[in-house]
Symmetry: C2
Subunit: 306 residues, 2 copies
């Protein structure tokens, strides 16, 4: 792994050395390091690029790291990762992606298709951080597709973050929830320059007392554009909530299109969205306390996203 890849690895997954337990590190479309643990087995797919991550029932408090790195221009990575989470398991998955195109004029992209099959009463915390780095004209593109199937009583929390350097992203997250399954999604997106980001969600609450809570916070700076689309279907007794708050700066453009459909009398669905610039009085308050305009802005954005 070269210095660029090491830097990316640290940024997206916090890793400075190989972790304990299970991991798979992918660089430029190839697995470059892998380890299974007693409870978590990682095996290559035979029919296409990617891995199966098989978590034994009752596995507790283990981490799985599966960062993907693209460390040069001209790479078009496509990977299929499937997660099979055994009953009653309770684990954390760290899955970031960093794309560096250096000073290359060739763009690079990473397309990751992740599927999650959560067994009964299992719990997963999924943390995903996307960044792009490079000074050349090559575009950095990350298009993640995430499909989640949750069995009875399972819980999944997804924390996804894209803060900088990704020129274009199309995110698509799809979930199907059985009885008592709960899904929490926290998304943070910041775009700048002339970047484009689309984030699309589709959640079917098929099981009684299932619930979804979808919270998206985004900031669009410069000439960047963002579209947030969510579709929540309440098909039985269930509770759905979606919330999209966006701050626009400079010439940023944000659209929010949240769709909620109650197909059952016992579905309760709520969504909220607000788009606007930083409130003037907040700026004034911080500047009165001695911050410059830039510092005040940074502080507000930081507080908003965290």
């Amino acid at each position: 792994m070269n210095e660029i890849a090491k830097e990316l690895l640290k940024e997206v997954s916090g890793l400075e050395e190989m972790p304990k337990g299970a991991y798979n590190i992918r660089e430029n479309s190839k697995s470059i390091a892998r380890q299974s643990s007693e409870n978590i087995e990682i095996v290559s797919k035979e029919d296409k690029s990617g891995i199966d991550i098989i978590v034994k029932p009752n596995t507790k408090s283990e981490h799985v790291f599966i960062p993907a790195l693209v460390s040069c221009g001209g790479v078009h990575d496509l990977v299929y990762n499937d997660f099979f989470i055994g009953e009653n398991a309770d684990i954390i998955i760290i899955a970031g992606c960093g794309v560096s195109t250096g000073d290359s004029c060739d763009g690079s992209e990473h397309n990751g298709i992740h599927r999650f099959f959560l067994g009964k009463n299992s719990r997963v915390r999924y943390v995903e951080k996307h960044i792009g780095v490079g000074i050349g004209t090559g575009k950095r593109v990350i298009n993640p597709v995430t499909e989640v199937e949750q069995e009875e009583g399972s819980f999944m929390e997804m924390e996804t973050t894209q803060i900088k350097g990704v020129d274009s992203t199309r995110r698509f997250t799809k979930a199907k929830l059985k009885d008592n399954a709960k899904l929490v999604i926290k998304e943070k997106l910041m775009t700048h320059g002339d970047q484009f980001a689309e984030s699309k969600f589709e959640v079917d609450m098929d099981g009684e007392d299932s619930s979804v809570n979808l919270i998206s916070r985004s900031v669009a700076r410069d000439y960047s554009r963002q579209t947030f689309i969510s579709k929540i279907n309440g098909n039985t007794r269930c509770v759905g909530h979606s919330e999209c708050d966006a701050i626009i700066m400079d010439h940023g453009v944000v659209s929010a299109i949240p769709e909620i459909t109650a197909n059952s009398l016992d579905a309760t669905l709520i969504h909220e969205a607000a788009i606007g610039k930083i409130a003037g009085d907040q700026m004034i308050k911080l500047m009165t306390l001695g911050l410059t305009e830039g510092e005040a802005e940074a502080k507000i954005i930081d507080g908003f996203l965290n």
Copy 2:
């Protein structure tokens, strides 16, 4: 005008006799009574079915009644009405539509395309009530298209109500707002049986300090289906708010798809939507006070819609 038409007229516009001032009453695709006033002129269109309503500048506190009635089955009415509101005018327009198919097996429909051109600083209150009546299998369909163009400083308030008897409706309301123009839309919709209702809005705030406030309240009973779609574009310094609250009962299905897009840093846009059934504690409270289940339900629905 026969008894059915008289009854419809009373229901949709509150009229029991011909009003003072300007009016046009349409029955089964024909104008059956018309009167212009000194300040409000009503003239037939020459190229198609419909009327132009021309309101002189500075006209104050006048009413215009333009109810449309369909009093039998087999009628397919299509009408184009254009309203030209002079500068500084301040008027009320009562425009309801009643469709009765009696015991006919033939359906009837009314398609009204209304365009409003509001002059500078003019004010319009537009009240529209839609009902359907009939015991036959003939479907009653009302599809209104409303286009609004608001000059600087104008104000329009639309109150639209569809409470019962309309088997299918597709409503489309479109508005373009210049500087300081304000638009308030209050929609009430109740569907029952296997009725279908779609209500679509598209508002462009092109002028500085323009604003739109869109409030939709709906109730879907039995097997009825409703779709609410709103699209609010903030293209400059402006404020947009949309709110869609729906109560579902029995097997009713409601979708809400509000889209907000900030194309300007100075646009502030908010939307909220909530779909659910009548809260149990509200029912219990009213039943504790001596109301039957049916009475309690009726009271809650009534309060919600009014």
